[in-house]
Protein backbone atom coordinates (compact mmCIF):
# COMPACT_ATOMS: atom_id res chain seq x y z
CA UNK A 1 0.00 0.00 0.00
CA UNK A 2 2.74 2.44 0.98
CA UNK A 3 4.75 1.34 -2.04
CA UNK A 4 1.84 1.91 -4.39
CA UNK A 5 1.28 5.39 -2.97
CA UNK A 6 4.96 6.19 -3.29
CA UNK A 7 5.15 5.10 -6.92
CA UNK A 8 2.02 7.03 -7.85
CA UNK A 9 3.34 10.23 -6.26
CA UNK A 10 6.81 9.67 -7.73
CA UNK A 11 5.36 9.23 -11.22
CA UNK A 12 3.37 12.43 -10.72
CA UNK A 13 6.51 14.29 -9.63
CA UNK A 14 8.63 13.07 -12.55
CA UNK A 15 5.87 13.64 -15.09
CA UNK A 16 5.23 17.19 -13.92
CA UNK A 17 8.97 17.93 -13.89
CA UNK A 18 9.21 16.74 -17.49
CA UNK A 19 6.18 18.87 -18.32
CA UNK A 20 7.94 21.88 -16.83
CA UNK A 21 10.99 21.57 -19.04
CA UNK A 22 9.24 20.38 -22.21
CA UNK A 23 6.22 22.67 -22.55
CA UNK A 24 6.91 25.77 -24.63
CA UNK A 25 4.49 27.95 -22.72
CA UNK A 26 5.99 29.29 -19.50
CA UNK A 27 2.65 29.49 -17.71
CA UNK A 28 2.04 25.79 -18.36
CA UNK A 29 5.48 25.16 -16.94
CA UNK A 30 4.58 27.11 -13.81
CA UNK A 31 1.40 25.07 -13.33
CA UNK A 32 3.38 21.84 -13.79
CA UNK A 33 5.86 23.05 -11.18
CA UNK A 34 2.99 23.61 -8.72
CA UNK A 35 1.92 19.98 -9.25
CA UNK A 36 5.52 18.92 -8.69
CA UNK A 37 5.81 20.89 -5.45
CA UNK A 38 2.55 19.39 -4.22
CA UNK A 39 3.84 15.90 -4.98
CA UNK A 40 7.02 16.61 -3.03
CA UNK A 41 4.88 17.86 -0.13
CA UNK A 42 3.07 14.51 -0.22
CA UNK A 43 6.44 12.73 -0.12
CA UNK A 44 7.40 14.81 2.93
CA UNK A 45 4.22 13.60 4.61
CA UNK A 46 5.11 10.00 3.80
CA UNK A 47 8.55 10.59 5.33
CA UNK A 48 6.93 11.90 8.52
CA UNK A 49 7.91 15.55 8.03
CA UNK A 50 4.54 17.18 8.64
CA UNK A 51 5.88 20.65 9.33
CA UNK A 52 7.89 20.68 6.11
CA UNK A 53 4.93 19.43 4.11
CA UNK A 54 2.82 22.34 5.35
CA UNK A 55 5.66 24.82 4.82
CA UNK A 56 6.21 23.46 1.33
CA UNK A 57 2.60 24.06 0.35
CA UNK A 58 2.45 27.51 1.96
CA UNK A 59 5.86 28.88 0.99
CA UNK A 60 6.57 27.17 -2.33
CA UNK A 61 3.27 26.28 -3.91
CA UNK A 62 1.71 29.40 -2.41
CA UNK A 63 4.02 32.37 -2.16
CA UNK A 64 6.86 31.57 -4.54
CA UNK A 65 4.68 30.24 -7.34
CA UNK A 66 2.34 33.23 -7.11
CA UNK A 67 5.41 35.39 -7.62
CA UNK A 68 6.44 33.30 -10.63
CA UNK A 69 3.01 33.37 -12.24
CA UNK A 70 2.85 37.12 -11.64
CA UNK A 71 6.24 37.66 -13.29
CA UNK A 72 5.27 35.47 -16.26
CA UNK A 73 2.03 37.40 -16.71
CA UNK A 74 3.87 40.72 -16.58
CA UNK A 75 6.74 39.75 -18.85
CA UNK A 76 5.39 37.50 -21.56
CA UNK A 77 2.49 38.69 -23.68
CA UNK A 78 1.84 35.49 -25.60
CA UNK A 79 4.20 32.93 -27.02
CA UNK A 80 7.73 32.55 -25.92
CA UNK A 81 10.86 31.02 -27.38
CA UNK A 82 9.49 31.40 -30.86
CA UNK A 83 11.79 31.14 -33.82
CA UNK A 84 14.40 28.51 -34.60
CA UNK A 85 17.03 27.77 -32.05
CA UNK A 86 20.49 28.52 -33.47
CA UNK A 87 22.15 26.24 -30.94
CA UNK A 88 19.75 23.34 -31.12
CA UNK A 89 22.41 20.66 -31.57
CA UNK A 90 24.45 21.83 -28.61
CA UNK A 91 21.34 22.01 -26.43
CA UNK A 92 20.14 18.53 -27.33
CA UNK A 93 23.50 17.24 -26.18
CA UNK A 94 22.21 17.98 -22.69
CA UNK A 95 19.90 14.96 -22.81
CA UNK A 96 22.55 12.19 -23.00
CA UNK A 97 24.80 14.11 -20.62
CA UNK A 98 21.87 14.47 -18.23
CA UNK A 99 21.17 10.74 -18.44
CA UNK A 100 24.80 10.11 -17.55
CA UNK A 101 24.59 12.52 -14.61
CA UNK A 102 21.44 10.76 -13.40
CA UNK A 103 23.13 7.35 -13.51
CA UNK A 104 26.11 8.75 -11.63
CA UNK A 105 23.94 10.36 -8.93
CA UNK A 106 21.87 7.23 -8.47
CA UNK A 107 25.00 5.12 -8.27
CA UNK A 108 26.66 7.37 -5.72
CA UNK A 109 23.82 8.40 -3.42
CA UNK A 110 21.34 5.56 -3.72
CA UNK A 111 23.38 2.58 -4.81
CA UNK A 112 25.33 2.05 -1.62
CA UNK A 113 23.33 2.21 1.57
CA UNK A 114 25.63 0.59 4.03
CA UNK A 115 25.68 3.31 6.69
CA UNK A 116 24.26 2.73 10.14
CA UNK A 117 20.54 3.03 10.68
CA UNK A 118 19.49 5.69 13.13
CA UNK A 119 17.50 5.12 16.30
CA UNK A 120 14.03 5.07 14.82
CA UNK A 121 12.26 7.67 12.74
CA UNK A 122 12.29 11.23 14.13
CA UNK A 123 9.06 13.11 14.62
CA UNK A 124 8.73 15.93 12.10
CA UNK A 125 5.98 17.68 14.04
CA UNK A 126 5.87 21.44 14.46
CA UNK A 127 6.84 21.12 18.11
CA UNK A 128 9.92 19.00 17.44
CA UNK A 129 11.20 21.05 14.50
CA UNK A 130 10.45 24.31 16.31
CA UNK A 131 12.34 23.18 19.39
CA UNK A 132 15.35 22.33 17.22
CA UNK A 133 15.17 25.63 15.33
CA UNK A 134 15.08 27.67 18.52
CA UNK A 135 17.86 25.80 20.30
CA UNK A 136 20.64 24.38 18.12
CA UNK A 137 19.79 26.46 15.07
CA UNK A 138 18.91 29.72 16.81
CA UNK A 139 21.70 31.78 15.26
CA UNK A 140 21.07 30.65 11.64
CA UNK A 141 17.37 31.20 12.28
CA UNK A 142 17.98 34.82 13.26
CA UNK A 143 20.33 35.26 10.30
CA UNK A 144 17.45 34.17 8.06
CA UNK A 145 15.52 37.27 9.08
CA UNK A 146 18.50 39.46 8.12
CA UNK A 147 18.70 37.67 4.78
CA UNK A 148 15.01 38.23 4.07
CA UNK A 149 15.32 41.90 5.02
CA UNK A 150 18.33 42.31 2.72
CA UNK A 151 16.44 40.61 -0.12
CA UNK A 152 13.47 42.91 0.41
CA UNK A 153 15.63 46.04 0.35
CA UNK A 154 17.45 44.81 -2.74
CA UNK A 155 14.23 44.08 -4.60
CA UNK A 156 12.89 47.53 -3.73
CA UNK A 157 16.06 49.08 -5.10
CA UNK A 158 15.84 47.05 -8.31
CA UNK A 159 12.15 47.71 -8.81
CA UNK A 160 12.07 51.44 -8.08
CA UNK A 161 14.66 52.50 -10.59
CA UNK A 162 12.78 53.76 -13.62
CA UNK A 163 14.45 53.89 -16.98
Amino acid sequence: MAHAAFFIVAALAIGSALGLILRKNAIHGALFLIVNLGAIAALYLMLGAEFLAAAQVIVYAGAIMVLFVFAIMVLIPGKEESGPDPRRGARLLAVPVGALLCLLLVFVVAGQWSGPRGPGAPSGSVAAVGRLLFTSYLFPFELTSVLLLAAMVGVLLLAKRRA
Binding site: A17, L20, L33, F68, I76, E81, V109, A121, T144
Partner: protein, 100 residues
Protein backbone atom coordinates in the same frame (compact mmCIF):
# COMPACT_ATOMS: atom_id res chain seq x y z
CA UNK B 1 7.55 1.22 4.73
CA UNK B 2 9.19 2.53 1.58
CA UNK B 3 13.00 2.35 1.83
CA UNK B 4 14.73 5.72 1.94
CA UNK B 5 16.90 4.84 -1.05
CA UNK B 6 13.79 5.11 -3.24
CA UNK B 7 13.31 8.70 -2.14
CA UNK B 8 16.95 9.50 -2.82
CA UNK B 9 16.75 7.91 -6.26
CA UNK B 10 13.66 9.97 -7.06
CA UNK B 11 15.50 13.05 -5.82
CA UNK B 12 18.43 12.28 -8.17
CA UNK B 13 16.04 11.92 -11.12
CA UNK B 14 14.29 15.21 -10.32
CA UNK B 15 17.62 16.98 -9.92
CA UNK B 16 18.75 15.72 -13.32
CA UNK B 17 15.55 16.92 -14.96
CA UNK B 18 16.21 20.33 -13.42
CA UNK B 19 19.77 20.38 -14.80
CA UNK B 20 18.58 19.43 -18.28
CA UNK B 21 15.88 22.10 -18.06
CA UNK B 22 18.45 24.77 -17.24
CA UNK B 23 20.53 23.77 -20.24
CA UNK B 24 17.90 23.25 -22.94
CA UNK B 25 15.55 26.18 -22.27
CA UNK B 26 16.04 29.76 -23.43
CA UNK B 27 13.43 31.50 -21.32
CA UNK B 28 15.05 32.79 -18.10
CA UNK B 29 11.83 32.27 -16.16
CA UNK B 30 11.72 28.58 -17.06
CA UNK B 31 15.42 28.28 -16.22
CA UNK B 32 14.63 29.81 -12.86
CA UNK B 33 11.81 27.34 -12.26
CA UNK B 34 14.19 24.49 -13.14
CA UNK B 35 16.53 25.80 -10.44
CA UNK B 36 13.63 25.62 -7.98
CA UNK B 37 13.10 22.04 -9.10
CA UNK B 38 16.73 21.23 -8.27
CA UNK B 39 16.44 22.88 -4.86
CA UNK B 40 13.39 20.77 -4.11
CA UNK B 41 15.13 17.59 -5.21
CA UNK B 42 17.99 18.37 -2.83
CA UNK B 43 15.47 19.07 -0.04
CA UNK B 44 13.83 15.71 -0.61
CA UNK B 45 17.20 13.98 -0.34
CA UNK B 46 17.94 15.86 2.90
CA UNK B 47 14.67 14.77 4.49
CA UNK B 48 15.19 11.17 3.35
CA UNK B 49 18.72 11.07 4.78
CA UNK B 50 17.51 12.62 8.03
CA UNK B 51 14.83 9.96 8.26
CA UNK B 52 17.42 7.26 7.71
CA UNK B 53 19.79 8.63 10.34
CA UNK B 54 17.02 9.23 12.82
CA UNK B 55 17.60 12.92 13.54
CA UNK B 56 15.86 16.16 12.69
CA UNK B 57 18.83 18.18 11.47
CA UNK B 58 18.01 17.44 7.85
CA UNK B 59 14.56 18.97 8.29
CA UNK B 60 16.03 22.09 9.94
CA UNK B 61 18.37 22.53 6.98
CA UNK B 62 15.45 22.15 4.57
CA UNK B 63 13.69 24.96 6.44
CA UNK B 64 16.67 27.24 5.82
CA UNK B 65 16.85 26.20 2.18
CA UNK B 66 13.21 27.24 1.81
CA UNK B 67 13.89 30.65 3.36
CA UNK B 68 16.92 31.23 1.13
CA UNK B 69 14.94 30.08 -1.92
CA UNK B 70 12.21 32.61 -1.15
CA UNK B 71 14.77 35.44 -0.96
CA UNK B 72 16.49 34.17 -4.10
CA UNK B 73 13.26 34.09 -6.09
CA UNK B 74 12.37 37.64 -5.11
CA UNK B 75 15.77 39.03 -6.09
CA UNK B 76 16.07 36.90 -9.23
CA UNK B 77 12.68 37.86 -10.58
CA UNK B 78 13.43 41.53 -9.89
CA UNK B 79 16.66 41.19 -11.90
CA UNK B 80 14.82 39.49 -14.77
CA UNK B 81 12.21 42.25 -14.80
CA UNK B 82 14.96 44.89 -14.78
CA UNK B 83 16.70 43.20 -17.74
CA UNK B 84 13.39 42.96 -19.59
CA UNK B 85 12.80 46.69 -19.14
CA UNK B 86 16.06 47.47 -20.90
CA UNK B 87 16.00 44.83 -23.63
CA UNK B 88 12.29 44.22 -24.30
CA UNK B 89 13.12 40.60 -25.10
CA UNK B 90 13.40 37.58 -22.92
CA UNK B 91 16.03 35.10 -24.04
CA UNK B 92 19.20 34.10 -22.28
CA UNK B 93 21.03 33.99 -25.61
CA UNK B 94 20.84 37.79 -25.77
CA UNK B 95 22.67 38.17 -22.51
CA UNK B 96 26.19 37.42 -23.72
CA UNK B 97 27.85 40.70 -22.77
CA UNK B 98 30.11 39.11 -20.18
CA UNK B 99 30.89 36.06 -22.26
CA UNK B 100 34.52 35.25 -22.68
Amino acid sequence: MVPESYYVTLSAVLFTIGVVGVVIRRNPLVIFMSIELMLNAANLALVAFGQRLGNLDGQAVVFFVMAVAAAEVAVGLAIIVAIFRVRRRLSVDDLSLMRW
